[in-house]
Point group: C2
């Protein structure tokens, strides 16, 4: 059997490796546009933060290993351009311009996502860079090395923007962040996002939310960012507005679209086209709480979906239940995390949500190192069900989110969650874990 994979990132390489493990005699071919496969994309901001670290440190497994040890026909520099579902072929062009065509019995589209580049005059000037591929990361690092960057502007205030803000500040670069809509992390409860804002302000980061960039122009050795009521100067602009699913190749072939123009897949990662699967940031997923399709591109899902696609391709029926949107990121020393629905999302999904926002401590009474910790929790008044949790704080926040995430998968009520037996020792938390304290407060409103 010929299993063809378009895209050699998390989902694509997970699928290719899994397929070869499942069936050693399968012909597995991967078409990767760039020269890099299997690297820790999420690690790039932390690598960029350190001028002495090599970007190659982020490579988990080299192309040769996939080729020689795993027997995967991994073709880098191969940009797939067109799928023909009728003849079951994929055609495209190599880096040197030469055309290619491959036939498949089963096809996986794992093309990932592409950074959103807004249509603003001057966006093509030198020093304006997105961060998506390892190549992008290398370019940013090279640029920082060879140019005297004293100040950078980041467009967008999402988690990549915030992680890059920390990386650049770590290198002593002044940072301004700009976005058109008002509100830092607008999905987050304001008590919590205000704490994140404070951390950024303490780092002297200029936060210009509600500022639309009208034009970017050259200015001296750098760039001028022109908004209606503000002009910012910088030697570098990082474009961190967000990403879109790189789904064009699948949609053009006639695959049904999911939310945000992603590729709609069923619980087995099958698109609407026969023998064509999709996995990773280009594909959608079912939200476990709402049962509806959603598009939340994150690394764990990409890996998991890659495995599931490969299993199904190999005849091992595998259904993924879906996601609850669990995420964590770091903003300087602040840990920011969420799982499940926001109150707004819960309302839109037909729930009757109630929420609490509490401030508690990360460790036991009087224990050294204890830090304030904020929890926002949402439940459904009709069913009593737990719907979502958000948390911020500087100590012991990140891993705390997985307990409510598991509860969301189990469809637990706030009451049942409140009754769960959690670990306690003074160095690690109060007797009542912060998520239990929040659940107790929320119960009074349900």
């Amino acid at each position: 059997m010929n299993f063809l994979v378009i895209g050699g990132d998390a989902a694509g390489m997970s699928a290719a490796s899994r397929a070869k493990r499942n069936q050693a005699d399968m012909n597995v071919t991967v078409l990767e546009m760039t020269s890099d496969v299997s690297y820790s994309a999420c690690g790039m901001p932390y690598n960029i933060a350190d001028p002495d670290r090599d970007m190659e440190d982020l490579v988990v497994r080299r192309a040769e290993v996939f080729r020689q040890k795993q027997g995967i026909n991994l073709l880098t520099g191969h940009c797939a351009e067109k799928i023909d579902p009728a003849s079951k072929t994929v055609s495209g062009r190599k880096a040197d311009g030469e055309g290619f065509s491959f036939s498949y019995d089963k096809l996986l589209i794992a093309t990932g996502a592409s950074p959103v580049i807004p249509d603003i005059p001057g966006m093509d000037l030198r020093g304006i860079m997105p961060l998506k591929s390892l190549e992008d990361g290398k370019k940013i690092k090279e640029y920082l090395k060879n140019h005297n960057v004293r100040k950078a502007v980041i467009t967008g205030m999402g988690y990549i923007g915030l992680e890059m803000c920390e990386a650049l500040r770590h290198r002593g670069i002044q940072v301004d962040m700009v976005k058109p809509r008002p509100g830092l992390l607008p999905w987050m409860d304001k008590n919590l996002s205000d704490e994140v804002r404070k951390v950024l302000e303490d780092e002297n980061v200029g936060l210009y939310d509600g500022y639309e960039i009208q034009k970017i122009a050259e200015s001296g050795d750098g760039l001028k960012i022109i908004c209606a009521e503000k002009e910012l100067e910088a030697q570098m602009i990082l474009v961190g507005i967000g990403v879109n699913p790189a789904s064009r190749i699948g949609l053009d072939a006639g695959a049904e679209a999911g939310p945000g123009q992603s590729l709609a897949v069923d619980h087995r990662m099958r698109t609407s086209l026969p023998d064509i699967y999709a996995a990773g940031d280009c594909a959608d997923a079912f939200h476990v709480i709402t049962g509806e399709r959603t598009w939340i591109p994150l690394a764990l899902r990409a890996n998991r979906a890659g495995w599931a696609a490969a299993d199904n391709v190999c005849g091992i029926a595998t259904e993924l239940p879906g996601i609850v949107g669990t995420a964590v990121f770091k903003v300087f020393d602040m840990q920011v995390t969420r799982t499940g629905l926001t109150e707004k999302e819960a309302k839109e999904a037909g729930f009757e949500p109630a929420s609490v926002s509490i401030k508690t401590r990360s460790r036991a009474h009087a224990h050294p190192g204890s830090q304030p910790l904020w929890v926002y929790m949402t439940g459904d008044k009709k069913s009593g069900r737990l719907l979502g949790v958000q948390m911020v704080g500087k100590d012991g926040v990140a891993h705390r989110i997985n307990a409510p995430a598991v509860a969301l998968h189990a469809g637990m009520s706030v009451e049942a969650f409140f009754q769960t037996d959690m670990a306690y020792a003074p160095p690690f938390g109060p007797v009542w874990d912060p998520v239990l304290t929040a659940a107790n407060q929320l119960l009074k409103k349900l």
Copy 2:
């Protein structure tokens, strides 16, 4: 209504406070044997570690606050000795020897647990001390201040012994630990307990497991601990063998016993005697996985059971599902945690367990600060159900246990747990959280 509570620690004071919040006009009387209520008992080792910290820092709420602000008739120095269920009275003796008697409509036994003091010649010598009450803690701290303690012996290697070992080493005191049965943390998978052993050996702690103490004698300015094949010298002995439920007063009154001579209670914290409840370390609980009675004295359960008892006393029907035995403790820089059943416990409960023991990393590939992390996971071959998890490591272990703990409450299969959507960012973990990696390995054995 007269609500009488015996014992003013976690369960007792939680119940008393909750009852007054539920019904402000209720007569709530608490009989506490010592002079201390509402302190962080689990914080004592960390306080003892620091000569400059006041033991009173551990007091969460003072007796006066309970009396004046909450209107609780809190009587310290009142040792209850006998319950007469027929006349509904509790009699006892005050610290000054004077007798007392109180009648009740509803009674809560919240007498906690008592340290096991083995019957060994010489156990009454000066410098041999248990750690259970705040008074015990103060005595130890005073002893360390006034005596030139260069070396201490700890009998027992449970979590209190291990926490005290860290505290004493922190004060520059050499420590030997002795216990009769071989094996450090014998309930733990050996791959994991070996890592804890290494940490103790790195701190030059003498570990004498499998050594029965035959006699303790005076020797110079200190004590000599005589085992069959070994003699140890020390200026202080900490008795940390374990605790027994302080259930005598209830059992004598005719209440049914639970495991380990605890007081058997139903899901509403009712003993077998009319209008008599029990909560905290003196009472048992249902194990959520086995459905059987178990006795695992821990602080969260004590607080929770205190609340539930008060609610039921006040006519607010409240059932607690039970516990899964989630616990965490710190051994120097090592975080040690567990939830659910061990393989041995699972077998005894009628499951057909299979387990895996894995070593992975606490953070993403190439991320600074990543540490090895060991996970042991047990599931049931018959049902596929997750049964238990153990984890050790120096980074990000403690809070990770609550996700599988919630899964145990939900009765999740290993497969369903493996499919849960957990948070990922390089500073906090690998893409596949260690508990997911363990679940994936375990699935191959189920």
